[in-house]
Symmetry: D2
Subunit: 308 residues, 4 copies
């Protein structure tokens, strides 16, 4: 198989402060659909163009941030082998039984990587109750709402020892690393990591505190939808971090902003077609600002300082 083993980041669970206000954002502003609620009050959502049961779970908490993310793999066999590989890499695994705390999801295997983040893998997930049409399909069944987020796209994690996390993604997940950023003394400062043609499925920035999240990225159709998202953002008085702008890194067109609970969200479009055999793009850390904010040409302080 050409696209196999690790397929994609399929689920992220986020902590939010105020379920009503935040849900309004995810549903009516970002444009996700609510799929279900769990017995313990979490809310499960998905974007209109996703087939799986849900891709975002919101959990009420004292502080915003990242609980965990889960990657879909292509088969039970891969799941078992990958679980062994995780252990062999040196990370302890645990098993979350099917349907135990994420409705519709099969068995998940979890572990904590060097950056302090819990990641999970799973092979089975039910289709969502409402999926894109598959028989003589329209491009969408009803017009996408709000910012028209198409899919959960990627997330950026801050934590220690990203060199190990990057090696883990390559060796265990079978991913590749289209772009990296190094400090003058040659240490990894950031890495963009993917399992497919997308320029990144996840990314890491080196940081002394573990388990931190910089942002979750959702896919938009194109630059025009990035502009439209900015219009939606303005009328909703959402606090923008930066954008509309372009990343030279990944080449995506983008806006960063904060949802009502304080998690940074990215709406993202474009990006090159990544292949594992193409040369890696390498950034010097003093050029990272321009790499991230190609139009501004320099780092913006909030990028490095504000994380959840």
């Amino acid at each position: 198989m050409a696209l196999n083993k690790t397929l994609r980041p399929g689920l992220i669970q986020l902590r939010v402060l105020d379920l009503d206000q935040t849900l309004n954002f995810y549903k009516n502003v970002l444009g996700l659909n609510e799929v279900c609620r769990t017995e313990d009050g979490r809310v499960c959502l998905k974007a209109y163009d996703e087939f799986d049961h849900h891709s975002v779970t919101l959990r009420l908490a004292e502080e915003p941030g990242f609980d965990y993310a889960a990657f879909k793999v292509d088969s039970e066999e891969t799941l078992e082998k990958m679980a062994e590989a995780v252990e062999a890499f040196g990370y302890q695994t645990d098993v979350v039984p099917a349907n135990s705390n994420q409705p519709g999801f099969g068995k998940r295997i979890g572990f904590t990587i060097s950056t302090g983040h819990r990641l999970e893998i799973y092979a089975d997930v039910e289709l969502a109750p409402q999926i894109p049409e598959t028989r003589n399909p329209n491009i969408w069944t009803e017009e996408p709402r709000g910012m028209r987020a198409q899919r959960l796209d990627h997330f950026l994690l801050y934590g220690p020892n990203i060199a190990e996390a990057e090696r883990f993604c390559k060796e265990v997940f079978g991913m590749f690393v289209p772009e990296v950023c190094n400090t003058p003394d040659g240490k990894r400062l950031a890495a963009w990591v993917t399992s497919s043609n997308k320029p990144h499925d996840l990314a890491f920035v080196e940081y002394d505190k573990p388990g931190k999240m910089h942002h979750v990225g959702f896919l938009l159709q194109d630059w025009n939808d990035v502009g439209h998202a900015a219009d939606i953002m303005a009328i909703n008085h959402l606090k923008q971090d930066i954008g509309p702008t372009r990343h030279a890194i990944t080449r995506g067109q983008t806006i960063y902003f904060w949802e009502p609970s304080g998690n940074r969200i990215e709406v993202y479009a474009g990006g090159y077609t990544a292949y594992p055999d193409n040369p890696q793009r390498v950034w010097d850390s003093e050029q990272l600002g321009r790499g991230l904010f190609y139009y501004e040409g320099e780092m913006i302080p909030s990028f490095l300082q504000i994380i959840t």
Copy 2:
């Protein structure tokens, strides 16, 4: 590895009638760069966003059309194993030695599939003399010309027994088939086939004559570049087949038109993010017109009639 084995369609050789006029199209209108010429007078070109030596070779001939296309695989080991799999599938293979007739390309293994088209596979190719920047890269080194084609994207082949060709792509290339079209009696009329997140790397339409080509598709950035390409097309008096429009199939935004030698070219943007575990989209043949030409809502006669 998550994206592996068959990576992408990396090379297509086309027959053209008039090298000067046609080259002017490929270079100044479509926006490819000329890389080199072969001793026998063929011209090798690439798009600005490709790393490999070249992706399009033009050969002077009496009639326009498709000579062959070649797929890059991820390693010599895959190449050897896949060659065996081709033979096991029942197709005879031949070997084109490195650098023999496509400058910069390593050994290629060729064979003819059920539709009468020669396909090839290769594991090695040199980087082009001029590639996208990789150290603190700009999004492009100089502004893309003409229609700003970013990459060779896909091609659509017409020929007999596409069911076998589709099975070959799955079983030997490890590809998957995001969309198909069936006749009322359940026979395959068309199939869209991919090795990665792209909705198609190649496609087939059932046709009684072997070895025919419907079009070659090049990737544009987005709908705006599709409109821009139409402006470029108009001022160059290129004969348009249809567009700007949208495919419901693949969801791409598109124009079909003819280059000066009569090969149909597509400029293409958008398209969903394909995954092998998502449900296949299925078209009934009486809806194929709407599937192909979502805005027109019906088949256009030239789509089925004019091929090279």
Copy 3:
């Protein structure tokens, strides 16, 4: 005053066959807002970005088509003087008292021009109940619906003796004529006429039957919204005439299609900034196809044949 006397086409009354289905189109697909209904059952609508009471009135009838259109002038004084000028030009005028059959509108003066169309002029109209914000305004109060029509933009009339109609627009309305199309023997075949920077407020095509309408045009933001309108059109199974394409004439980006009653609607964006002192653009009739359909490069038969 720099922009004065005749300001704009402010009102059009159309005949429709089926009020419910057609209203659904104008409101939910095109994106107009219903303002009110008249005692005799007509429906008054406006686009979200218009200030005046309403701009489109729909009247149930046996056949679709154009009842009349009305132009706003800048003052009562202009209205009176222009009424005299209409009479002096040779057209009989009548007076429609304020609020008599178009709610919110002041006195209108009507007359029939050479092409057999009733036109009206008026100086007073109430603001709509819901207008764009004017104190620290957002770009819109709620997100535009459907195709996101911003304004009634223009209309194209078919009828006899357009040379006289054009002269009337210049001499009485004070308009200018940025583009014309002439037959080989130098007769006017078409004329685009405007009172402001818009490339046209109305247009004429020479035709032997009087009082016919080719289309009503509504303004969209840009090419992206033209594409979005095509998506909306496809999901609503509206019959498209042509587009998305570009006019070389006016340079607008456009789709023609039919609303459920059979009136042709245009959604239109772009267009150059017109000025009365710039040279007139002149089309030869054998190039009119390319002028209208720049991407197709030729006339489409329905343009000349299907009118209401």
Copy 4:
């Protein structure tokens, strides 16, 4: 006439520091064409979509900034009457004879308004040597270069007593004022002023020093070209002030940046269709930041501080 008397800002003369580097910007980056040079070394340029001889003149000087701007009026008769009106308003006029210091321009009448800026009016100007096609025209003759500026659009002036300048524009130029910004005590802080459907031909911000310029704005086709301009800006390492963003004021989509001599340039698209009879939009000064920078939601310090 509906659009008459004052037609548009047709000429601006700017001071630049380094003719070669700055000319490279205006020609190859912004995309203007050089028309001619004067005997005293000034350079005259125009945008591809303008008909008049030139619209921008660059003069080598010690400091960047605004020399003067000139408005085209519709006739010699208007020119003479307006000159009288200028005098009657209380401003002394002088006459610049035809072709004396702006090649191709007829007689200009100049005066200084309350903000300390020299403005001029003229009725005659030759067509440029190279104008847009007018016989069966293409949308452009050759593809626009660089940022693809279509026209000189507007400029924003800083100076004292803008209330008088605004009154002058209304009373003498016949312009109207679609938007204003007032301080809490009701004083004019800013005004946007136009003679046509464009939301502004010029604008004023109250400032204690006379004769200052904030920016010159050039028209782009749409939001997509705004994004494209940002790509061009980045590769040319031009220092951006802000954008791509949207103004709530005028509703335009925009980037501010500095050309190599330090003059702030705006590339601008969109904007509503302005009419003199529509209600004026009024901004409270504490909302001006949001009015100018709708996506950021607040004032950026450089907007008020950096002028030339």
